[in-house]
């Protein structure tokens, strides 16, 4: 155990190594480590944010889905209502149309009947007149009874 000049030289070497580490070794490594830590922290924060946003989005989407379902059922309900309305309307219109056709037909029939009756009546009057004429031609003077004949003709009209 002899203390000598080696002590001084070792202390000098030590201080040089300390200086070297302080100056050249520590700062770049610390920078790299701290930068990486920051990157990792940012990444974790971003992940957390993304997770939160996903949660919100899924919440929103379920809300939207619910609303859409509700809207759809409303629309279906309205459509059904409208459909029954249309059917009812169509039924009513058809009934009206039918009634009108029937009424028209009835009027036609009545008209036809009237004109048939008229012509029948005329025919019958002519027949009767012709019959009477034939009978009378044999029995009476046409001229003497002309006023009676014309009165009958007048009646038959």
């Amino acid at each position: 155990m002899n203390i000598n000049f080696t002590l001084i030289s070792q202390a000098l070497a030590f201080s040089v190594f300390i200086w070297f580490t302080v100056k050249f070794v520590w700062p770049p490594l610390l920078r790299a480590i701290e930068e990486r830590q920051k990157t990792i922290a940012d990444g974790l924060a971003a992940g957390e944010r993304g997770r939160h946003e996903l949660e919100l989005a899924s919440q929103r989407s379920s809300e939207v889905l619910k609303e859409a379902k509700q809207r759809a059922s409303e629309i279906i309900l309205q459509a059904e209502k409208r459909a029954t309305e249309i059917v009812e309307e169509a039924k009513r219109a058809a009934k009206d149309e039918g009634d009108r056709i029937v009424a028209g037909a009835k009027a036609d029939i009545a008209h036809e009947m009237f004109s048939a009756k008229e012509s029948l009546r005329q025919h019958a009057a002519q027949l009767a007149l012709a019959g009477a004429e034939k009978i009378l031609r044999r029995e009476i003077d046409a001229k003497a009874h002309a006023d009676i004949l014309s009165a009958i003709e007048e009646d038959l009209k």
Partner: protein, 269 residues
Amino acid sequence: MASGTELTPTSYIDHHLTYLTTKVSEGSFGVLHVDTLITSLILGVISFGFIWLIVRKATPGVPSKSQAFIELAVEFIDNEVKNTFHGNRHVLVAPLALTVFVWVLMMNAMDILPIDIMAWVTENVFGMHNWKIVPTTDVNTTFALALSIWFLMIFFNLKVKGVGGWMHELFCTPFGKNPLLWILNLLFNFIEYVSKPLSHSLRLFGNIYAGEIIFLLLGMWAATGVSGTIFGSILGAGWAIFHILIVTLQAFIFMMLTVVYISMAHESH
């Protein structure tokens, strides 16, 4: 080993404990242990150069395996410093702790290299008859480290507390402000300031030196023949494995004490 003269246990151990010296000036203090200095310098340059080469290309992205290894060590040390030192540790304390840990660990680790093989290599390859391969078995190394840290401690005491604040601390702690206690306080602090570098350096020196002596003693089994050599080798292997723990632990303790001493200099009572 290969000293040319007769090999006795004493000469064997003596040989392994002899430094390669050179005289730089007169007196016993003018001696320089060339082996200690060169070995520690080579170790420091290799380890800090290696770290620097990797750190220079350090990327904040995905680190390479070597960068991850350096970061592992640095973050381990940084955590220890963070728990002890409550200031801006990146200015000096944390890099200082890294320097101390890496350098002391490397110097201690030389103890694990087989002592006689290394002696053969230094003698026959480099032509150095005496070459102590473990710088921390030289008390000059451990004192140099401990005293440098001691001066840093004094420096930070003065810088943080000022001369008055430090004097107040020397006279008024740990027992109290009473003027009757001033002398006792000063004496107590004096003992503390003397014992800090002594215990700091001698703990490291003692552990590594003792480890080396045990390797030497185990190495002497080789003198008893083949079975003795085998027995000695087995014991030596066991001691080397155990020594991995001591080497790391002593480097860690030395670093922790460094951090604690400098933290204490920053904190006023």
